[in-house]
Point group: C2
Chain length 324, copies 2
């Protein structure tokens, strides 16, 4: 049994941090240790909330306010970020702990900075594993934040129990800027900044999104009234408690109907298959194989070798021809 397991399940933050570093590592021995540790984790569940929103919508302030509120209600909250843009830039623009200063100092909150470099698949794996570690460490809510670029929303929705879209007050034109696919994933749309001068605009925006949501086909996993749009203000905390009530109502209903568990089961199955495929393909990353692929690729590029024949030859060398 891994030495991290006991302190981790007792809620020791340092053990949790070290365990996350372990799952983030690409070293072979670390990976083996991470897999064994994950296999030994107790079956604790946190509520996994995916959160997306375009930059400038006030996501950090929302997480600060919302997270602090949950902690005041007696919960422990973990915040993770999925930021594929940081894959390119080599880290998020602002450190996650700087963005959420109050929350990061709260002993009942755990904020994990975005890992600095990996491809999207790697980010997904590490985030899924980190969620499991946070659950085992006794966190009640895990917020998985994404910056809302490219495929990151789908990725986050696929590892969450519910998916929340944080949007800014806006005119009807901008409403159409939200991609239909993202709207369809949302369980709850929160229109932020519903305070001061923007209050009226925010309310109209809520009505607009509510109308748009009604146009989407009703999903079997939703009770009456969901997906829904409501107004919140991260700055004044108005509406945050309502948002939390809605999330719980939705989850309670899904638990009763069996959707909650069946979704988690599907997600776990997909995770397994994704891991398996990644494992099979990972052999192409080994230095020796890479050199051979480069050489074969050169011959193919020159036209000296057909792509299919080159692939078949390489598969044979990898000992897979029997499985072809």
């Amino acid at each position: 049994m891994d030495e991290l397991l006991k302190p981790l399940t007792e809620g020791n933050r340092r053990a949790l941090s070290r365990a996350i570093t372990l799952v983030e590592s690409t070293r072979d021995d670390h990976r083996q240790r991470a897999v064994a540790l994950l296999a030994d984790l107790p079956q604790r569940q946190a509520l996994r909330i995916g959160l997306s929103g375009t930059p400038g919508v006030g996501k950090s302030t929302f997480i600060e306010s919302f997270g602090t509120m949950l902690i005041e209600q007696g919960m422990r909250v973990a915040v993770l970020a999925v930021d594929p843009s940081s894959v390119r830039s080599g880290g998020s623009i602002l450190g996650d702990k700087t963005r959420m200063e109050t929350l990061s100092r709260n002993p009942k909150a755990f904020i994990r900075p975005t890992p600095s470099s990996a491809e999207l698949g790697g980010v997904a794996r590490r985030t899924r594993e980190t969620i499991r570690l946070c659950e085992a460490a006794g966190y009640d809510v895990v917020l998985i934040e994404t910056v809302g670029v490219g495929q990151s929303e789908t990725l986050v929705a696929d590892m969450s129990d519910l998916f929340v879209l944080l949007l800014a007050p806006a005119g009807g034109d901008e409403l159409q800027g939200v991609k239909r696919g993202i709207m369809e994933m949302a369980d709850l749309i929160l229109v932020n900044k519903a305070d001061g001068d923007l209050l009226g605009t925010a309310r109209r925006t809520v009505a607009d999104y509510a109308g748009a949501l009604r146009l989407l086909r009703k999903r079997p996993q939703d009770p009456q009234g969901f997906p829904k749009a409501i107004a919140v203000s991260a700055a004044t905390q108005d509406g945050l408690d309502k948002a939390w009530q809605d999330m719980r109502e939705l989850c309670d209903w899904r638990r009763e109907q069996g959707f909650f568990d069946s979704t988690r089961a599907d997600q776990a199955r997909q995770w397994f298959m994704a891991e398996l495929r990644a494992g099979l393909l990972s052999q192409l990353d080994h230095p020796q194989i890479k050199a051979q692929l480069q050489k074969l690729g050169d011959d193919v590029a020159k036209g000296a070798l057909a792509p299919g024949a080159a692939a078949t030859g390489m598969l044979k060398r990898l000992g897979r021809v029997s499985a072809e």
Copy 2:
């Protein structure tokens, strides 16, 4: 040497059809034979033109008119279709030969109906291989048509020498309906139906698209004036010759600058890697393995087994643990 090779390279249409049926087959022995045949093909080149356009834009009529014009100029023309929607519906709505009746009766044209079922990756492989077969059979131009849904444009652009977007005359609002990514792939935008009452609208649409194209960053692979938008009428054949001149001008320039060959080389390399990855993953499709995966997946879904541990176990059984 395959018995199909000689008649195929002599331009025998029946041999070409049979060879395509061979590459479309998923039977193991057929696949082996297809790989061997493809490896033996002579290095003939056709101009590979990718063509996309939304339904209703007059794509079939355009291919009829444009193809017939090329044939009148002494060329042989092959038409292939990439239609991922037929993957779901089990065939295109109208048979390809019905859609292009005149062309399909022309002995210098070869129209291959959309294969009726396969996943997108399979469609891509078969289309790439079919292009090679058409080239070997002496066709001068291969038109690869896509219906313009989902990722099919990217797929087609990645197997073409140039990518043509066929659009309908439209107001400024509709212009924005063309996704930026698709615009960026286009080498030439043809605004169809520039005849009769629509002539004025078509010309304004051309100006709108030309303006939009100017806003896109200049690409190194483009000579002065490209990508460009022009008006055509498939019905009256107006502008088709101009379109063909533009295509040739672009290709000649790219050949001189080396972009033509380097793009093909990159495409071949990517094709090789795609085949290799597909080959590695294909072992998961074997019935015995599938049954094991189902059982492991059930355990994972129940929470009795961690996804990572299940994947590692399966990789070991597949004999890949040394490569992990």
